[in-house]
């Protein structure tokens, strides 16, 4: 221990400072993200400005730009996190299940989560369709993540070779129908239970087609 005392403090201090800096930086980032999420949800991508985000986070625009290249960078960061968290919840929901029960469990988990953060989800979906921004978002987001979970569960139920080609079609349809229904839920003010019932019914119809085919 003694051998570290002399060089010890000198050795420890520089190591300590970067850690504190890193911690402070992370905290700043988190504050910015929290403020940005609220503003993007409230006003959409176009409506939210870096100035307003900085203000809400209690810092200067310069401080925001120190952590993020630009607004799209910040937005895509948030979108990536949302996607990763959605994926994790869906995967947890399918634990121990296969085939149709797995699919329904995953869609239930997705609906519950996304219904609670609908405005942000809308902002992200709108961005995906905007030229320019949409490309940037798509490049960084792996769109197939949630759909690939559904695909896995659809493939559980298939034994034929034909299933391979069909499975992608089916799983895409299930996920797309889910998103469309989620959007309608926002407009019609549906609560979770009726939303889940609709999603289940649609999924059953699509899967029934698969079974016959």
């Amino acid at each position: 221990m003694n051998q570290f005392v002399y060089g010890g403090l000198a050795a420890i201090e520089p190591a300590e400072r970067p850690n504190q800096r890193a911690l402070a930086k992370r905290r700043t980032r988190e504050k910015i993200i929290a403020a940005a999420k609220a503003l993007f949800a409230e006003r959409g991508y176009e409506g939210a400005t870096i100035r307003d985000i900085a203000k809400a986070a209690g810092m200067s625009t310069g401080a925001v730009f120190a952590s993020f290249t630009d607004k799209s960078d910040l937005f895509i960061d948030i979108a990536e996190t949302e996607q990763a968290e959605l994926y994790a919840e869906m995967r947890a929901a399918k634990e121990g299940l296969t085939g149709r029960p797995a699919i329904l469990a995953m869609l239930d988990a997705a609906a519950e989560r996304q219904l609670a953060s609908l405005a942000l989800v809308q902002a992200i979906m709108s961005a995906l369709w905007t030229p320019g921004l949409g490309e940037k978002v798509r490049r960084r987001l792996d769109r197939r993540t949630a759909a690939s979970l559904i695909l896995g569960a659809v493939q559980d139920d298939l034994s034929q070779e034909e299933g391979g080609r069909c499975a992608t079609l089916i799983s895409d349809m299930i996920w797309d129908a889910y998103i469309a229904t989620l959007r309608r839920a926002a407009l019609d003010g549906l609560t979770l239970e009726p939303l889940r019932a609709r999603i289940h019914e649609q999924t059953r119809t699509i899967l029934a087609g698969l079974r016959r085919g």
Binding site: S126, W129, P131, G134, E135, M173, R204, A208, G209
Partner: protein, 201 residues
């Protein structure tokens, strides 16, 4: 119509015409109210008298085009043949062909339709009542014809078909898919949906 109303209406139509052209030329994002006003030969204020925002202008441009689309469809509908699935395919094929003529505009519409908070009263994507009505009629006739299960929730089936139709456009946005790609994909999706709706046995 009084002289004043007639003039207001004429202004409105000029604005819509100018907007449609500008949107097609430079895209919705890059288009400005100022440029629309300039091309229409009116003041920016006049534009805002008729439309609360740029997104409302887009909404109205889209809505007006629908008349053209439904004229196309009305020509086609009396001649629809085959199974209910095939008739549905034809209805939506007409839609794809129509929208692809002005794809950029339609994609802008989809994007704005998502931000419905920004533009309350904006035509909602996928809930176009005439489209839904036509598909509903087609399905109801299918029940009568016996290739759709009688106890089917028709509204839900319409939702599925319209969702599949609309969401395929992302492939046009993301991967440059053309009208044939989307129509072929949709044909397969219709197949799946109708297998699920078919009567047992």
């Amino acid at each position: 119509m009084g002289v004043r109303e007639a003039r207001k209406e004429a202004t409105r139509l000029r604005v819509l015409d100018a907007a449609r052209q500008l949107f097609e030329e430079v895209g919705y994002e890059a288009a400005t109210i100022r440029e629309i006003a300039r091309r229409a030969g009116v003041s920016v204020g006049s534009v805002f008298t008729g439309f609360p925002s740029k997104s409302h202008v887009l909404g109205e441009v889209i809505r007006c085009r629908l008349d053209e689309l439904y004229a196309d469809l009305e020509r086609v509908t009396p001649h629809l043949r085959g199974s209910t699935a095939d008739r549905c395919r034809s209805l939506f094929a007409v839609h794809y062909a129509f929208e692809f003529r002005r794809l950029r505009l339609f994609l802008a519409h989809i994007s704005v339709a998502f931000e419905f908070r920004e533009a309350p009263g904006y035509p909602v994507l996928g809930s176009n009542p005439r489209l839904r009505g036509m598909v509903l009629e087609c399905l109801a006739a299918g029940v009568a014809r016996g290739d759709v299960r009688p106890e089917t929730d028709l509204e839900l089936a319409v939702d599925l078909l319209v969702a599949a139709y609309a969401w395929n456009y992302r492939l046009a946005a993301a991967e440059g898919a053309d009208v044939q790609d989307l129509t072929q994909l949709f044909d397969r999706q219709v197949g799946v949906i109708f297998e699920g709706l078919a009567p047992p046995g």
